[in-house]
């Protein structure tokens, strides 16, 4: 083992399997330093990086595909791709943006394969602000069972159900902005689109959510 790897393994790495919140010592090591260690072949440094980011990646994937088992497997694929691509990662880039870019690609590949992306979902290009009336319903892709509907009365469940009815692009934009706290430029990088598209998607996604949640409220 070379000296650098030995030092990083002994001094910088958290214990295997430790959760991100388990110890302050783990959090003290910046991603940049861990990435450098990973690029020199340190597998333990990578495991620390995985432990730190797996929760966010899993939450993002789970919110995108709404399937726990597949989200688990896809999260594995994402980190495997991250490991393979890490040698090419440049220190100038922000790791989280890069990680979510890979997440985006893996999720969209999966969606394409499964063909679960809603057909006939509202298109930003042909949609006008005035076209969305409060209380109007877009085409939902998930239909809750009657017993599930009762559980969904909680606000969180209702929001999740409403998110599930958005198309993948609107859902992802909302999640990256509201949930992960990305700025507009970062969202554009992750989704490989223009700033204008990000703004448009955010606006219409929020409008659709409002319409769906108002509709639910009206039903109650």
């Amino acid at each position: 083992m070379n000296f650098f790897r030995w030092v990083t393994s002994k001094q910088l790495m958290a214990p295997v399997g430790a959760s991100p919140d388990a110890g302050a010592g783990d959090q003290e090591v910046p991603d940049r330093q861990l990435i450098k260690a990973c690029q020199s072949g340190d597998v333990r440094a990578f495991e620390t990086l995985v432990t730190r980011h797996r929760g966010k990646v899993y939450a993002m994937v789970q919110n995108m595909i709404k399937n726990e088992a597949d989200a688990w497997d896809l999260s594995q694929d994402i980190f495997l791709k991250v490991w393979k691509a890490l040698p090419k990662f440049e220190a100038r880039a922000k790791f989280s943006t890069w990680l979510y870019r890979i997440t985006h690609n893996v999720v969209y590949d999966w969606l394409r394969k499964r063909k679960i992306d809603s057909v006939g979902e509202l298109d930003d290009g042909i949609l006008n602000q005035s076209d969305i009336a409060a209380g109007s319903r877009t085409s939902p892709s998930v239909t809750a069972r009657p017993d599930q509907a009762l559980v969904n009365s909680e606000l969180g469940e209702r929001i999740n159900a409403a998110l599930a009815t958005l198309n993948a692009e609107h859902r992802e934009t909302i999640l990256l902005r509201e949930v992960q706290g990305f700025d507009y430029k970062e969202i554009a990088k992750v989704m490989d689109c223009s700033l204008g598209t990000v703004m448009s998607r955010l606006y219409y996604a929020r409008k659709k959510l409002q319409a769906l949640l108002s509709d639910e409220k009206g039903k109650d």
Partner: protein, 197 residues
């Protein structure tokens, strides 16, 4: 105001990211549309609800297993890459030796071929002769009566000849001092007599 610009202003207002200039622009738009502010406030509520209700991080079930499975995959990948890289390096590093090694192999095969083609030692030759004679076919001799039968199968395009009355020459016959009257047939004797006298 253009539709795209309006959308941008709305989004930034909800996120609280308007510049003073943009704020002035939006304020002017709100004056002309009294319902706009109420609509934007509704959207802001939705945005805040999403922030508060959807968790940014959810630990995957069986986190330790998640890590161990992933690290096993990575280990396998590292292992599968190692031999390929080594083989590549070995071939590349030995490339300079291919020409002299090929020349040496050529010379060695020439000498090896030369040795194989030389006559073997006398003992080996004798052995070869003995083995050769041992493989000679049995010599048959006619007895008192010889007859042959031809069996032909025209449909199968096959024929067989059966010869009766042949017998192998006995081992105890000495052809130098042979007592012809004892064992050889008369026809053979007369034939031999014509040849030698």
């Amino acid at each position: 105001m253009k539709k795209e610009k309006t959308e941008e202003l709305f989004v930034k207002w909800i996120d609280g990211l308007l510049t003073p200039e943009e704020e002035a622009q939006l304020a002017a738009a709100m004056e002309s549309d009294p319902g706009m502010k109420a609509e934007l406030q509704e959207l802001k509520k939705i945005s805040e609800s999403v922030v508060s209700e959807v968790p940014a991080s959810v630990e995957p079930p069986y986190g330790d297993f998640f890590n161990s499975k992933l690290m096993r995959k990575i280990d396998l990948q590292i292992q599968s890459q190692r031999p390929a890289k080594k083989a590549e390096r070995w071939w590349q590093s030995m490339r300079w030796a291919w020409a002299p090694v090929s020349a040496l192999a050529l010379v060695l095969s020439f000498f090896a071929g030369h040795r194989i083609s030389r006559p073997a030692d006398p003992l080996a030759q004798k052995k070869t002769f003995v083995e050769f004679t041992a493989e000679l076919p049995t010599v048959y001799f006619t007895g008192e009566a010889l007859d042959a039968e031809v069996i032909a199968d025209f449909e199968g395009d096959v024929s067989a000849i059966v010869v009766n009355g042949l017998s192998a020459i006995r081992d105890d016959i000495d052809f130098v001092t042979v007592n012809t009257s004892a064992s050889l047939p008369e026809s053979y004797e007369s034939s031999e007599a014509r040849r030698f006298h």
